[in-house]
């Protein structure tokens, strides 16, 4: 860590060294801006190391589909650009459908997805069992397979950015919780970390679920609510689950990593608020039962670790990117990714950097402006797991 002289001015101070903050810092620094990255704990300690590390282009909202079609390219190209292969596995997503209503809904969505070039395939029960013969066919109507989707490893994204930033001489201040800001003439002048003051032209809050706590110091309230969710991983077993599977009926999702471990969670159990990131037995029992119900063959496989993390949820389950006229000048936010932050981070960082460097809002980013909540231009996103 480089010593920080409080007299040095930065073009941008990025607050929060999760995937989005790291990506934003990297792209800002690549544009030749003087950047400093400030982190309360250690890089990735928030939600970036706690997610299920899946990526998909299949969303309910056309905006989000377009965003992730481009975002997927950034993920796939990450290894070439940054030099760390994030173990992209184009395994596809497999939605298990059990009701006619679900089937009709996916048919409607697939029309939109096809028009954007990312249509998937409908599988009948036999075809679903060709993908994973071990699946319980009971009550299964069929499946939707999205071949453009897949899994990756989040840690490698974080490591890659950290190595790049260190190489570019961008200071990363870890264990440095923000304690306040200095504002004068409606402009943010500096950020305070205890007695340390860091002056910058602009401030980007990428603090995920903790973003409202940071902006509250500036009197800005963000419509982001933390939702505590839990995840578990089993011991490694021989690879037999290729796609990332979501069972709508059993409300469970799971995928198998290259180490052989099966990781997953349930889709409908969460607690709103800053609940301690600990593990509940209720979740453990529900997850185990639902996973076995979907995939009876795993009954003897043992749960090895479980943990919890926050989704940073907005009213329309889509991120907030940009600035608001009512905010103090110099304040920007890239947060509220509602469970999709990891997969979106490489692109989100690039777009934020472009916006901050040029002042022009990139087209892909336009729907995510914080003003949409006042203007009732909410994004119709219901596909959150």
């Amino acid at each position: 860590m480089k010593p920080v002289n409080s007299n040095i001015e930065y073009d941008v101070a990025v607050i929060g060294a999760g995937a989005v903050g790291l990506a934003t810092s990297y792209h800002l620094a690549s544009k030749g801006m003087r950047v400093i990255l400030i982190e309360k704990n250690y890089a990735g300690s928030g939600s970036s190391t706690r997610n299920a590390a899946g990526f998909r282009v299949h969303f309910n909202s056309e905006h989000n589909v377009k965003f992730m079609v481009e975002g997927r390219r950034r993920l796939v190209g990450f290894g070439g650009e940054i030099g760390w292969n994030p173990i992209i596995f184009d395994s596809g997503y497999l939605w298990l459908l059990s009701t006619e209503a679900d089937l009709q809904e996916f048919k409607r969505l697939n029309t939109m997805w096809s028009s954007l070039g990312v249509g998937g395939r409908f599988l009948d029960t036999r075809e679903v069992r060709e993908v994973i013969p071990e699946l319980n066919p009971q009550g299964l109507l069929g499946g939707f397979y999205g071949p453009q989707d897949g899994t990756f490893h989040h840690d490698l994204i974080l490591f890659g950015y950290q190595e790049k930033l260190a190489g570019m001489g961008v200071p990363l201040l870890e264990s440095s919780p923000v304690t306040g800001f200095n504002v004068s003439s409606r402009r943010v002048r500096s950020v305070l970390i205890g007695s340390k003051e860091i002056r910058a032209e602009r401030f980007v809050v990428c603090a995920g679920a903790w973003s409202p706590q940071v902006t509250a110091m500036l009197g800005v309230s963000l419509p982001i609510t933390p939702e505590r969710r839990e995840l578990g991983v089993t011991e490694p077993v021989k690879h037999f689950i290729k796609p990332f599977v979501i069972s709508l009926k059993n409300r469970v999702y799971f995928a198998q990593g290259l180490r052989g471990e099966i990781r997953g969670g349930v889709t409908d159990m969460f607690r709103k608020g800053y609940y301690p990131l600990v593990s509940s037995l209720e979740w453990t029992v529900a997850y185990a039962a639902r996973l076995i119900k979907t995939l009876p063959t795993v009954s003897n496989v043992r749960l090895n670790r479980q943990w919890s993390g926050y989704y940073e949820v907005t009213p329309d389950h889509s991120q907030i990117m940009g600035a608001h006229p009512s905010w103090p000048e110099g304040l920007f936010v890239a947060a509220g990714f509602s469970g999709h932050g990891m997969m979106m981070s490489p692109l989100a960082g690039e777009l934020m950097a472009e916006y901050i460097a040029t002042g022009r809002i990139p087209d892909l980013m336009r729907p995510y402006s914080p003003e949409r909540f006042d203007e009732n231009r909410l994004i119709d996103e219901a596909m959150v797991f």
Partner: protein, 535 residues
Amino acid sequence: MFERLIGFVILSSSVPTVSVNGRLITVERGTPLDVAIKKAGFRGLFRSVKFGRLRDIMDDSYLYPQYKCVYVNGYGFVNPLSFQVEEDITVIIDRRASFGSTLSGKLPFFGVGFQNSGLIRTGFGWKIMRRMILSSANLPKYGGEKVVRPESGRLTTDILIVGGGPAGMGLAQALLEKNLDFLLVDPNPTLGGRIRYALNFPQLRRALNFDAEGLAKIIATRRIVGLFTGLYEEGVGLVVGQNRILRVEFSRLVYANGSKCPPPLFAGNDSPGVISVDYALRLRHFGVLTSPVVFYVEDEWGEMVYRALKDDLLPVLVSPLDLEDKVASHIKQVRLSSKELVVTLDNGSRVKVKYVVYSTLRQPNLELPAQAGFAYSFSAQRGKIVCTEAEGEPSSNTPVLLAGSVTGLYELNDAFRHGRAIGYTLSGDMDSALKLVPPPTVVHPSTTGVVHQDAFVCFCEDVRVRDFVLAQHKKLRGSEKTKRFTGWGTGVCQGKLCIANGMRILGDGPYTQRLPTQPTPLAWLASLGDETSEL
């Protein structure tokens, strides 16, 4: 490089034999499987390899109860907690090495944490490599085998003691005296923790300042045989074992789950025959541990065991401590030849032995308390991990206390006194508790001098010292980032042995732990809920 041994499969439960490499061996009921295999002249160590790991029986395998049934077809043949054969079984040990394990001996980046594999960093040929990894991984295949549904139940008590070693016994003694309601959970059929085999050796029994056997008899009515796997948000814990999963409710919880000595960091520390002092006592008890032997001793307990076995085994003593009959301060390397271990000492001399017995500065079994919110730090001066304070996010509102060597501070007899002191504290009798607070223990110098790049830090995830060095070069510093980069401590043993080794290198902590601390079959967990009725 010795031949890698992959896995064992139980084929039948009807024949009273064990087959090791085609040889059939009769195993009497009640005989530990590891002992039976050793008696057959077989070196029980199974190397794990990332992407293709199977690591079933190790010389120190009793420390890893979860391995005993890991990749066995089905559960319930071998008691996963005591490793004792409870039914007649046939075991076949397969010598086939996997693609991954073959590679790991030849390519330096294979078989280490997959994050730092040179192959996958470039992105070139990644798809082909991925296919090779997936098809070659010699992992157990699941499906089709019998699912053993455990008996599930509930228990309620005021105080739950986790661990039946010296500290747990001291606690139980105090609580019995004060007539408080408690239960004690311990996985081993015999109480005593690390002293349970030591009690069979008169010299060691004399060295203990309490009547362990007498106490064990009294506590027997208050004990549950099983493993406590952690404290959940709801303030309840799970006990797993003996085909049983129990949901235990309590108002107070005491972790008295002891400590372990991590393998020292010399090259070859994963060789078969390199065993901990506690395991050496077990093998000696069953008549398997035979001369010649090297003792590597860093602490008082190791010295006590050395003195107790000295006349029988005539071992070579290696120690950084100032002991009168020692021959060198450190082991540089252990190399496995076909029949024996060749041990190179730092004075340049070499000895050929059957076993290397180590007793290092003990690592608290911190996986449970760390998960409950206790913080640990590495004391460079002592070369040891100590509990610093309770902080962070406690996993529930249930009051949790620590007793004995799980605090990282106490020698063997002190653990018993400390357990009693905690027991009196719980009863509100502070006067008695204060009288028992153990005196400060002797501070030994740190013994981190010789660290070999090829030494294993973490066995489950195949992390070596050189992987830590690589993480440092990548500027990924600190325990959390090193853990994520190397996989150190995230394997099935949940850091039971490797955390101390990692911290000795990093000088850093604390370290987050995850539930369940004992890998538990999904069907067992599911059996606790209402959702099973839908299954």
